[in-house]
Every structure is written in structure tokens, then in C-alpha cells.
């Protein structure tokens, strides 16, 4: 569906048509529609485009009287449109001879072309109505993607990324900076008024796309959008650039620091004048550089692009035929109106729709997972339409394994590095024995750039030593483009070793090897996917992790961990890395550069590396600081780690047992309040992937055919036109004469026109309802887990709220009944 929206959107955006002719940008929705209707019904408010078209048609039909020029005829045609017959005749021929015929002819030409244009405008308006909110364009009155993204941001933990098979850009919203003033928007609006709607179309994908274009040269005045699409409005560009330059340009200017690939959206600004036009602003961390952009958009796209009726040369005679092209080239009109192929515009070359923050998640901009999802399905049901199908996982072994318990959110991307972690310095490698874990952890990772690592590997993690230190070797010759992924991979191994005994080999068996490597490669491959390397290679994260795990665990056999083509992976991956390294403007540090810069070097590479180091400190260790962004997922990570830490590191089974049945394990147990059973009977929601509801177009069409026949009181017939006309009806009961029989034949179709027309009108509504019902069914399934979780959360929180806590602490060695016990007794 998204593809359909986006396709229609592209059609709207790119296809050629008159821009000025339909300039209704200053009007609100109803006024806009009223104006269109008045034009269509009463030829009121007809614009110059239609007048010119009719004048040219008159020229082509040789209906311009002698002595009159084409420019003279404009006033004549206007008089016809305004129903001033006397004026028309006086200006046209100076007499009433043959004048009314010409008058009627001109009006009919006008009505015809307006009718055609109105039809296309109506369809585009309807499409705009359906696309608003889901098109991915910026600034619409509401955006479902933005709302779901906000909800996702409230719920997510940064560690969730590891469980998600797709790369979604991180998006955050922050207030507009103080130096972006209201006056700047007012200035922009006052200039933009002169260029609406062309400039809004032109700068809808942002001003940044124009940076690589030649310097601005004013080329206004185009009457058709396919010409206007190459127009530039220098003053508007200047105002947009001023707004863009006022946005923060350094990574450090954003708090928390803007991660690689993360997008910032500033509040949209709706201009007071022209109406329905908004200004959007965004910034994005592209490989450590902040790319800022400002663009225009509509909150409700009413400036639709109807068919073009003027110009159109050069004309493609092969496609349109000689006679048509003769008219086009000689009279500069496109009889009946046409959409011409638009020229390519810079916004599209730079990514166009796909560089907008929400649209880039759409199907047009995000390919299906190539390894598991395929548009070409071999074993499909005949007569069925399958857009895509996805296969289950290809992993053959466990994909993660822990020492005890789930180790919730162990990777630690959810944590913000504390000052202590950021300020830590490592001793030289030859003094590594002096290194000890801090008070908050039982292990200490130590990364060193070394000339070479064991096994000639790019990186290698040594087993934990007796001091609790885990040495990580990063080869100085490691490929720069893979450095980030390698470091993260090794840090996952360090985390796996952290709670193990010193010297433990965590990859000793097939199961262990696959589980540990798959987990580590999942993290590494995620960063490769974020960089776009996997997209170049045409492979998914699962394929990447599986193949690399196969390579790392090849001592246990070929393709031991995942059922993927490892040899093909090596080939494709190598080529993709080479291609990616040629990306212009790519600045990749070496291991030595990072280590020379210390923590700041690592931060520039990826702040999540420090988060992973931070994660080796217990989240709940008394006296230790834990920082994280306040989200539901992160809070759950924290609570989960606290529970795990309590159970694993504290002695929860008391050291005291009752002597006989009925004895209390603790003093005053009998005074304890009853267990509230909060959460005792809660079932966790089943998390299952959403399924697209069945779409049976043939069935729908058949039911429509049936409905047509039913309306005419006939059984279902194929083709349905048979329900429209039954030759036997009149032949079997002929009328008294041949003429009336023939007339009866002819009128049979007319009889059915009304039910057919009403069915046609209803079909749109019925189809909409079917589409909406499919969307509802999809959403009700897709959001089932979320709604169940919300309900469960609500119940738990209600139970927690009702819990009554005693005001006195439990006495440790009291021999007398404590107060709360008395209170409890007395209340009983």
C-alpha cells in the first residue's frame, strides 16, 4: 500500500502539468473546491491557460475572423466565457451572423477542457486525501509514521536494535534553536507568496540538494510545472539557507550526542501566508558530519498538478502520431491535455523522497530482506497474487547463550557512559598486569592497538586473566571500514567472558562457538548495516552474522552455524566493502588514530562502544552510577538487571530454616500482610510477526459483477455486460413494428445506466472500506502485542499503587512484638 501511495505521490510530484494555472495555494480546502466547481459548472473565474487554449483551438480550426489576431481573440473568448453574448458578437464579427454558433463552440471547448482538467484534479485531490498522513512527506497535518515513531521512542531500549532485523534510522525531536526566529519564517513567507506553488514543489525535498547545483539563476515565469520543475527562486533559496545555517552544525551541539545515522527533527512551522504551506527542518549525523536541511511542504496538498494543455513540443511523433504532433508544434497546445515525461530534478538525484526521515522507511526506499524475502515465489497457489514471502530463520544452532539467567540488555547500548568510564585511561600494554576492575565490575576490558593479533586476525579477545582483565587486541592493519564492527564484536566477547572463570574458553564446543559468535557478529553486522555496507552487498544482517559465524566456527565443520552460502558471502561482502570505501567524503580513522585520541577518538567512532564498556559495570551495584535515557525499555533493562544482579549476587535463600512445620522463618512473619498477588496471574503477550490479511481481488471483482447483475434483476452472468443487455428480451416479445423494436433495443442500455452509474459510484466507497478493513485487520494483529502489554502494564501498575507498605522496618533481633504487628493485630 505504501508503494501505491508513494507511486501516486511521485506521479503527483513529477508529472507535467500546469502550475500557475491551478494556483489555489492561498485558499482553504472548501474555498478551493468551490472555485473549481464554479469554473466547471458556470465557467466562472476561468484562468488565462484555458482562454489561451481555446484561442489556439480557434486558430487551429480557422475560426479567427480576418483582421483579428490571436491576442485580439483573448478578450473575445473571455466574453464568451462570461456569457456576454452581445459583447462577444460585437468583438468577434461585428454582427450576429454565425456569431451564436461560434459563441457556443468556444464555450463548449472551454467546458470540455475544464471538465478533463477537473477530472484529473479531482482524482489527484482524492489521492492527496488518501496519502495525507502516510505519504512520508514532511509537514502534513498529521503523520502516522511520526506518531508511531514517538511511541517507539518511548518504548524502545537501544538494545532492541539487536533483536530487530531491519535498520531503522534513529529519529529524535528537539526544540527549535533560539536563533531561528519567527521573523525568518515571516520573511520566507512574504517572498514565497510570489512563487507559490512552484517553489513549494521545487524545494519539497530540501535545499541541501541544490548545494551541488550551479549557482542560482532566477528562471521564474514558467506556466507548466514540468518547466517549473527546473525553475529556481533565488530569494526563496536564500531564505531557506539562512534558516538552515541557523541550525546547530556540530555533533557536540546536540545533547545527548547525535549518533551516527541519527536524525533530528525540529518543530514544523506552518506559514500564516501562503496557507497550507509548512517549513520543515532536520539534521542528520552522516558519518560524523552533521548534514542540515530545510525544505517546504504542504499540510494538505491542495495544489495538485492537473494535466498540461499548453506547449509540449518537441512532440514524440512515434508515440503520439503525426497529426497530433502537427497541432502541438504549430499551435502550442496539447489537445485534450497530456502528461509529459518530466525532466529529472536535482532533489530526486540526491535521494529525493528517500532522504526525508519518515519516507526512507517506506518500501520504495527500503528494499526487502534479500536473503529471506523474495518477490519471485516459485510454489505459489495458481490464481493468487503474492507480493512477497519471507522464510523462517536459517540459524542451525543457538544464537546466544549466557552463563546464568537471561543477562537482559547485556550489550549495554541502552546505557550512557558515565564520567568515570569516559575518563578512564589504560596503562601501556607492558603494564597491563597493574590493571584491575573498578569497584562496580568484576572484569575490565582493555583495548590495545597492536601490530598483529593472534591468528593474523583483525581483532582478538583474550580470555579473562586472573586479575579480571580482558585484553582485546586490535590489529593496526585492520581495515578502517570494518574497525567499528570489529571493536564492537570483540567487546561482546569480552562481555561473554566477564562473568566466567579466568581462562575460560567460551567457544569450546559447536553450540558454544555458534552461540557466542552469532551474538557477537549480530552486533558487528548491525553496524555494517547501519553503514550501508550490507545494502551494497545485498544481504541481510542475519545472513551476514550467520556467514561470519560459519567462518569463525569452521573447525566444527562447514556451515556449522547457519544454513547460508558462506562462499558467496565472502565474495559479495568483499566487493561491497570496496565499493563503500569509495563513498565520497568518507573519513575513517585507523586504530592508531583512535587510540592516540583516546576516549574522544572512540566517541567519534561510535559512542556505543563506550556504552558497551560501561555495561560491564553492574547496573545495580550499590555506590555505582548508572545513566540512561528515560524510556520504558531502558527502565525495564535497569529493573531486569537489578533483579538478575540480586538473584545472582545476593543470597536470597535465607540462612535460617524453621524447626517444625508451622514455625516462622522470620520473626513476625505472621504479621506480614497478605501477598497482593500483583502480577501473579499475568500472561505475557505472544509476540508474533504481523501477517498481511488475505487479498482476493478476483473474488472482489466477481462480487462486483454479481452486484451489477442483481441490480438488474438477473442471475450472475459472465461477462457482466450480459446483465446489461439481453437480446432475447425484446426478440421473444416483439413490439408491433420494427421501428419501436429497434428503439426498444437501443433504450435497453439506457434503462440500466442509472443502476450501473450508482454501482460505479458505490464501488469507490466499497473499495475504500475493503482497503480500510484490511488495514484495520493488519493493525489489530500487529498492535495486539502492544495493546496486551499496555493492558498488562496498566494492571500491574494499578496493583502496585494499591500496595500498602509498613511504616516501620523489620526488627532484626527484637524480642518484643513490633508496632506494625500490633497495628496489624488490632486492625484484624
Amino acid at each position: 500500500m505504501k508503494r501505491l501511495f508513494a507511486c501516486t505521490g511521485f506521479t503527483l510530484l513529477l508529472l507535467a502539468a500546469t502550475a500557475h494555472a491551478q494556483n489555489l495555494g492561498g485558499l482553504q480546502l472548501y474555498e478551493n473546491m468551490h472555485k473549481i466547481t464554479l469554473q466547471e459548472v458556470a465557467l466562472e473565474g476561468v484562468n488565462d491557460q484555458i482562454v489561451n487554449y481555446v484561442v489556439q483551438m480557434a486558430d487551429q480550426e480557422e475560426m479567427i475572423p480576418e483582421g483579428k489576431t490571436v491576442s485580439d481573440m483573448k478578450e473575445v473568448v473571455k466574453a464568451a466565457f462570461e456569457a456576454r453574448l452581445d459583447d462577444f458578437c460585437e468583438q468577434y464579427s461585428g454582427s450576429f451572423d454565425a456569431c451564436p454558433q461560434a459563441y457556443q463552440m468556444f464555450r463548449e471547448w472551454g467546458l470540455d477542457i475544464i471538465d478533463t482538467r477537473t477530472l484529473s484534479t479531482d482524482l489527484l485531490h482524492i489521492a492527496a486525501g488518501y496519502e495525507t498522513g502516510v505519504s512520508g512527506n514532511m509537514g502534513e497535518i498529521f503523520t502516522i509514521a511520526e506518531r508511531t515513531l514517538t511511541i517507539r521512542n518511548i518504548w524502545r531500549s537501544q538494545d532492541d536494535a539487536l533483536l530487530t532485523p531491519e535498520v531503522f534510522p534513529l529519529v529524535r525531536a528537539i526544540p527549535r534553536p533560539d536563533n531561528v526566529t519567527d521573523g525568518m519564517f515571516d520573511d520566507l513567507g512574504s517572498e514565497l507568496k510570489k512563487y507559490v506553488p512552484n517553489a513549494v514543489w521545487r524545494y519539497r525535498y530540501g535545499i541541501a540538494a541544490f548545494d551541488k547545483q550551479p549557482p542560482c539563476k532566477e528562471t521564474g515565469g514558467s506556466t507548466e510545472l514540468f518547466e517549473a520543475i527546473e525553475e529556481r527562486s533565488c530569494i526563496v533559496e536564500e531564505k531557506l539557507r539562512a534558516l538552515r545555517d541557523a541550525l546547530p552544525s556540530a555533533v557536540s551541539a546536540y545533547s545527548p550526542l547525535l549518533q551516527r545515522g541519527e536524525i533530528v527533527i525540529f518543530p514544523l512551522r506552518r506559514l500564516d501566508d501562503p496557507a497550507h504551506v509548512i517549513v520543515w527542518m532536520m539534521a542528520e549525523n552522516v558519518n560524523g558530519t552533521i548534514r542540515r536541511d530545510v525544505g517546504l511542504g504542504w499540510d494538505l496538498m491542495l495544489d495538485s498538478v492537473p494535466i498540461g494543455i499548453l506547449g509540449g513540443s518537441p512532440c514524440d511523433t512515434g508515440k503520439l502520431g503525426e497529426p497530433y504532433c502537427t497541432v502541438v508544434e504549430r499551435f502550442s497546445i496539447r489537445p485534450g491535455g497530456r502528461y509529459e515525461d518530466p525532466p529529472k530534478e536535482p532533489g530526486v538525484e540526491e535521494g529525493g523522497l528517500c532522504q526525508l526521515p519518515f519516507a526512507r522507511d517506506g518500501y520504495l526506499c527500503r528494499p526487502l530482506r534479500p536473503d529471506r524475502c523474495n518477490a519471485e515465489i516459485e510454489d505459489k497457489e495458481p490464481d493468487s497474487i503474492v507480493l512477497a514471502a519471507c522464510q523462517p530463520t536459517r540459524a542451525k544452532q543457538p544464537v546466544a547463550m549466557t552463563q546464568s539467567g537471561p543477562d537482559i540488555c547485556r550489550t549495554g547500548w541502552w546505557r550512557i557512559p558515565t564520567e568515570e568510564t569516559i575518563n578512564t585511561t589504560l596503562p601501556p600494554l607492558d603494564q597491563i598486569d597493574t590493571l584491575r576492575p573498578g569497584k562496580c565490575s568484576i572484569c575490565k576490558p582493555a583495548m590495545y592497538c597492536e601490530a598483529s593479533c593472534p591468528g593474523n586476525a583483525m581483532a582478538y579477545t583474550y580470555p579473562k586473566n586472573e586479575n579480571g582483565v580482558i585484553r582485546i587486541c586490535i590489529s593496526s592493519g585492520a581495515r578502517r571500514s570494518l574497525l567499528r564492527a570489529s571493536i564492537m564484536h570483540e567487546l561482546v566477547h569480552a562481555q561473554q567472558e566477564c562473568d566466567q572463570k579466568a581462562g575460560t574458553d567460551v567457544t569450546d564446543t559447536l553450540e558454544h562457538c555458534c552461540a557466542r559468535e552469532m551474538e557477537a557478529y549480530t552486533v558487528g553486522c548491525r553496524t555494517l548495516a547501519e553503514d550501508g555496507i550490507l545494502e551494497f552487498a545485498g544481504m541481510s544482517m542475519e545472513e551476514c552474522a550467520g556467514s561470519q559465524a560459519n567462518i569463525s566456527c569452521q573447525e566444527f565443520g562447514a556451515n556449522a552455524c547457519a544454513n547460508v552460502d558462506t562462499a558467496a558471502f565472502i565474495d559479495r561482502f568483499g566487493k561491497a566493502v570496496e565499493k563503500w570505501e569509495q563513498t565520497p567524503g568518507l573519513q575513517l580513522p585507523t586504530c592508531s588514530e583512535i587510540s592516540n585520541l583516546g576516549v574522544s577518538g572512540v566517541m567519534n567512532l561510535d559512542s556505543r562502544i563506550l556504552s558497551m564498556v560501561e555495561a560491564m559495570n553492574g547496573a545495580c551495584t550499590p555506590g555505582c552510577q548508572t545513566k540512561y535515557q528515560n524510556t520504558i525499555g531502558n527502565n525495564l533493562c535497569y529493573i531486569g538487571q537489578c533483579i538478575e544482579q540480586s538473584i545472582e549476587q545476593s543470597r536470597v535463600i535465607p540462612g535460617r530454616m524453621a524447626l517444625v512445620v508451622g514455625d516462622e522463618s522470620f520473626p513476625w512473619d505472621s504479621c506480614a500482610a497478605n501477598d497482593s498477588q500483583a502480577g501473579g496471574l499475568i500472561t505475557l503477550p505472544a509476540i508474533s510477526p504481523p501477517l498481511a490479511p488475505a487479498y482476493n481481488p478476483r473474488l472482489l471483482v466477481e462480487s462486483l459483477d454479481r452486484a451489477l447483475c442483481q441490480l438488474n434483476g438477473l442471475p450472475a452472468l459472465t461477462p457482466p455486460v450480459r446483465c446489461q443487455f439481453d437480446y432475447q428480451r425484446r426478440l421473444s416479445i416483439p413490439t408491433s413494428d420494427y421501428v419501436s423494436t429497434a428503439l426498444s433495443f437501443a433504450s435497453q442500455i439506457e434503462e440500466n445506466e442509472t443502476p450501473t452509474a450508482s454501482l460505479q459510484r458505490m464501488t469507490q466507497g466499497i473499495a475504500t472500506r475493503i482497503g480500510t478493513s484490511m488495514l484495520t485487520r493488519y493493525l489489530s494483529w500487529a498492535s495486539m502485542a502492544l495493546s496486551d502489554t499496555l493492558r498488562t502494564g496498566n494492571r500491574l501498575l494499578n496493583s502496585m499503587e494499591k500496595t500498602e507498605f509498613p511504616r516501620t522496618t523489620c526488627p532484626r533481633t527484637a524480642t518484643e512484638k513490633p508496632d506494625f504487628c500490633s497495628a496489624s493485630s488490632s486492625s484484624d
Binding site: M33, W155, L300
Partner: protein
């Protein structure tokens, strides 16, 4: 010639018939052709009232005696304002704690004002979801008023001129030419309005229908967002308390202290 007893008998019969008729007339029992019954039905079920502008149900609309030249302006301005209000309702915060679906997004002030002038919503609450229905009902009332005006165009035109004269304080007689001109002008306006009002509203609603189909989803998402924020804040408090978990477990055991 009738005999006296016969006359008396006839008189008594007529009296009885009259009394009976009087009794029937004054009883509350309504017959199928009774005007009272029709009025009663209309009162009970005002949704299906005839749309005459002289009906009590439509009295509050300015189509009865108002200045005719103002009718189109009033109609189009009202429709435009309500549609604009509906578009703006996307940025209005819903009442997520409402008991019913209709109360989640109550009508805006302009829609409410119009709905209360229409019989269907006169005594009922109106929701923002019902914008299209209210507007279509408003259009029906407007078209009815126009057609009714057309049926009685000549006397209405005379009245219109009289009103204009009265407002100007003029006492001049009305000429036939003035009436013809007024009739012609009103006829053109009515024809134009009947031809354009419905297509205009249909066009507007076609766009709105596309946008509005996502309004319930958009509203639900806003409510889910707020519920999520509540859960997040409650969980943040839970996390604060969770920081004490290791010590709570330790405190449960009274017989030993863990080394600090």
C-alpha cells in the same frame, strides 16, 4: 311532513352525534389522518422531518426570513469554517479517558453550533467524527430552502424588495420592472447554488474522507502515546525503587551482614 316524535328523535340523534363528535374531538385518541398525530410523530422522530424552512426544526437557520443575498455567503462560509475546523481537529488533543468513542473527540465549537440548529442533533451530542453527516444535512436544508424559495419566487421577491425599502426608509411603490429584475437575479442565484453547492461539498468531503479515515487511528495513537508516557514514568519510579533490590534481598536475611 314529519311527525313531532320523528322530529324529536332526529333532534336527539343529532345531539348525540354532536356530543359524540365533541367527545371524540376532545379525546387524546389520534386517528391515522389526524394532524395531531402527524405533529406528534414529527416531534417524536424529528430526524426525518420534512426540510421546509418554515418547519420549527429549521427555524434557527437563517433561511426563513433572512436577506436572500446573504444565504449563499452564510452557507459557504459556515461549510468552509467547519471543514477547516475539522482539518485542525487533527492537532487537537483527544479526551482519552472518555467513556464512549464519540466523547473521545467532541465536536469543535463551530460544528457544535451548526449541529444544534439542525433537528438531528438538536437534543443530542455531536462528535467530530460526524462532520460529514452534519454538513450533508446542512446542505439538504440549504437546498430545500432554495427550492422552496424558487416555488414562491415572485411573492418572495416582492417581500425582499419591501424589506430593502423598509431598511432604506423609502415609501416608494414597487414597480413591475423591479420585481422582474429581483426575480431574475434570485432565479440565477438559486440555479447556480443548486448546481454548485452539492458538487462543492462532495469534492471537499472526498478529500476529507481520505484524510479522516485515519483520524480514529491517529486519535488512538495519541492516546497510546500518552498511556505510554504514564507507563514510562511509573516504570521510572519502579526503576528508582529497583536500585534498592540487592539491599532488600540482603535485608530479608537477619542473620548475617554482607561485607561492604
Amino acid at each position: 311532513m314529519l311527525s313531532r316524535p320523528r322530529i324529536v328523535g332526529l333532534f336527539v340523534f343529532l345531539m348525540l352525534a354532536a356530543l359524540g363528535a365533541g367527545f371524540i374531538t376532545h379525546s387524546k385518541k389520534l386517528t391515522a389522518t389526524s394532524v395531531d398525530l402527524l405533529m406528534q410523530r414529527q416531534k417524536d422522530n424529528s430526524i426525518l422531518t420534512p426540510c421546509s424552512r418554515f418547519e420549527e426544526s429549521y427555524m434557527q437557520l437563517p433561511f426563513r426570513d433572512g436577506n436572500f443575498a446573504e444565504w449563499p455567503k452564510f452557507y459557504h462560509a459556515t461549510a468552509a469554517a467547519i471543514i477547516e475546523e475539522h482539518i485542525q481537529s487533527f492537532s487537537r488533543a483527544p479526551k482519552c479517558a472518555a467513556a464512549t468513542g464519540n466523547d473521545v473527540l467532541p465536536a469543535g465549537p463551530k460544528l457544535k453550533e451548526l449541529a444544534q440548529k439542525l433537528p438531528s442533533w438538536k437534543n443530542a451530542s455531536v462528535s467530530q467524527w460526524e462532520t460529514s453527516s452534519v454538513l450533508l444535512e446542512f446542505l439538504r436544508a440549504y437546498e430545500c430552502a432554495l427550492k422552496e424559495r424558487l416555488y414562491f419566487l415572485h411573492p418572495e421577491a416582492v417581500k425582499e424588495i419591501e424589506k430593502m425599502r423598509a431598511s432604506e426608509g423609502s415609501t416608494e411603490d414597487i414597480t413591475l420592472g423591479e420585481v422582474v429584475m429581483e426575480v431574475s437575479q434570485e432565479d440565477r442565484t438559486i440555479a447556480k447554488e443548486l448546481a454548485t453547492a452539492r458538487p462543492t461539498l462532495n469534492r471537499s468531503l472526498a478529500v476529507l474522507a481520505g484524510v479522516s479515515r485515519l483520524l480514529p487511528l491517529h486519535t488512538e495513537l495519541q492516546c497510546i502515546e500518552r498511556a505510554s508516557l504514564d507507563i514510562r514514568n511509573a516504570l521510572a519510579l519502579g526503576a528508582e525503587a529497583g536500585a534498592c533490590l540487592p539491599r532488600i534481598w540482603n535485608a530479608k536475611d537477619p542473620l548475617r551482614d554482607l561485607p561492604q
